[in-house]
Symmetry: C2
Subunit: 339 residues, 2 copies
């Protein structure tokens, strides 16, 4: 039977599904980061291979020589990665060169099977795109933690840490974030100072500067946890504004279409803080309904089916969504912010 | 003759002066960064030694066994650094352990000899302090590029780069900063795109992510060069606001006193963009006159004299300022932003 190995490779985790051309799902697998920018070529091959192996393991039917793999992924890939993945997937019964597609398309087609629309991802980073005729016509954002990514998990975590440091340094207002951050790093709040600074501030600085900057994304969930706090609320409001601006900048006023939201920040924003996120995003979307998706694996499968010449209708799309959701273990649901 | 070797060790350059207890200056020397956080212990010993050697080289008078060294420096120092500097300075005729003082005191006493007042430094980083009885009673800021330092050279350079990237990505307004940044990196503005992004944006991202983040401070002078541009003006206005807030947070409403400004950002701000910087800083200073100083070497000398029990009066202070300014080569004046 001709099958598709469809993979959504994120910066935190990777999801793979095996399906046939009718959209029936045979197996599902999950592994760590399959993104070569985050994990390097070796790490990406390992994790993509693991996810694929786990998806194939549950499938007892046969796979013919036309079966192929497709991966939705942020950023660019090297010829070396393609070569090594070809070997790895061939051993699992999926021959030929794996096709690489932008993560924006994986996210988009996880929420809709229409050919024209928009996708916005906010996980550790942010990116938005306009899709026409099923292809990515325009992308904005994705410029990384240092130069862009306003409203991303990194950005929110960074603002959380700056707000806590400002508060401890007497330069910013008190905030509930301080207790949450110090607790999460097991830093006590005993009195006493080092060279004129509170002990907790000195320890916090030491621990934070020991992290890779991108590691500050781990503090983003604390803003959602404290969304009643004024400082946290300001950070989230500003994040929602940046994400709305990013989405608006990809919009063509003459082209309506569904708007699909992906990534852990948008998932948390729409679920935990809809009063902050829904209005600006709906306005930026031109009033169309926002579709939030948990990941991009359904979309990767749709991309594989389209590539195989299959015309996607609502029945096929629903079958695929249902199939993936039945196989996806609910216990492995992502936390509020993980990309 | 009993002499003092007084050194101001910055993150970019180091200045040393040899003086006697009457405030007469005998020699002046300059070298690279003598800050152990920026240069490591080996680098700091080398540069502090070079500056000292150059200051001593011009002095043909004798130096007695009571002669000692004093260094104004940001951050903390290790016992190893003290030990190695003791050896190095002893060989130059300055025995005993060199005394280390906060850079805030070096800056403060470069502008005044009064015992009570305030100092604000904005170079690559920012820090402010309240001085009472000639000692540092309170310090705020100095929490570094990632967690604080609003309004610093790093902060301004970072905002410049984010504004240029946003503009090239279609997310922010056009700005004169774009041309200045691309020119400074020798990036052409030819048309063409890579994976849907302008060629210049892709190259800019590659070059910037190859830098250490703190290296973004090198783009701060471009904001001053383009201070008529609306985007640049907004960045500088926001920087001036952060610096004013930092100064205000160190103020004790019950204690007036001179306010001394140090560091390359404040030098450039007061000289190139006084319409942006003067008003908020004057307000934060409670209306007292702001004294801008080029570096902290006069203050290091004052600290050395105070330590030797010399009472500083206006005549001695003026003699010292004049003496240093006569010896300081005008050709080595710092650029608009260098700490």
């Amino acid at each position: 039977m001709r099958k598709i190995l469809a993979i959504d490779a994120g910066g935190t985790s990777t999801r793979a599904v095996v399906l046939d051309l009718a959209g029936r799902c045979f197996g599902y697998g999950r592994a760590g980061s399959g993104n070569p920018t985050a994990s390097g070529v070796d790490g990406a091959v390992t994790e993509l291979g693991k996810a694929a192996e786990r998806a194939v393991a549950g499938d007892e039917s046969t796979t013919n020589h036309e079966s192929a793999a497709i991966i939705a992924l942020a950023g660019s890939v090297s010829p070396l990665l393609i070569e090594r993945l070809s070997e790895r997937f061939a051993a699992l019964g999926f021959g030929g060169e794996p096709v690489i597609e932008p993560d924006l398309l994986g996210t988009y087609f996880s929420g809709t099977f229409e050919s024209d629309g928009y996708a916005l991802i906010a996980g550790t980073g942010t990116v938005a795109g306009r899709i026409t005729g099923g292809r990515l016509a325009l992308a904005r954002g994705g410029t990384g933690w240092l130069l862009g990514d306003g409203g991303s998990g990194y950005w929110i975590g960074h603002q959380v840490m700056r707000a806590v440091v400002a508060s401890l340094d007497g330069l910013g207002p008190d905030t509930a974030l301080t207790g949450l951050v110090l607790d999460s790093l097991h830093i006590g709040t005993e009195l006493g100072s080092v060279r004129g600074r509170p002990h907790s501030l000195v320890t916090l600085m030491e621990e934070t500067y020991a992290l890779r900057p991108i590691g500050l994304a781990r503090f983003a969930p604390l803003a959602f946890a404290a969304s009643e706090d004024e400082v946290a609320r300001e950070i989230l409001t500003s994040a929602a504004g940046s994400l709305a601006q990013l989405l608006a900048a990809t919009r063509d006023p003459g082209m309506n279409g569904p708007v699909v939201l992906g990534g852990s920040v948008l998932a948390a924003g729409m679920r935990v803080a809809p009063s902050i996120f829904a209005a600006p995003l709906t306005a930026a979307a031109g009033g169309v309904e926002l579709i939030a998706v948990p990941d991009g694996v359904v979309g990767a499968a749709i991309l594989g089916l389209r590539r195989a010449g299959v015309v996607i209708d609502s029945e096929l799309f629903s079958r695929l969504q249902r199939g993936v959701s039945e196989l996806r273990p609910s216990s492995t649901a992502e936390g509020p912010v993980a990309g």
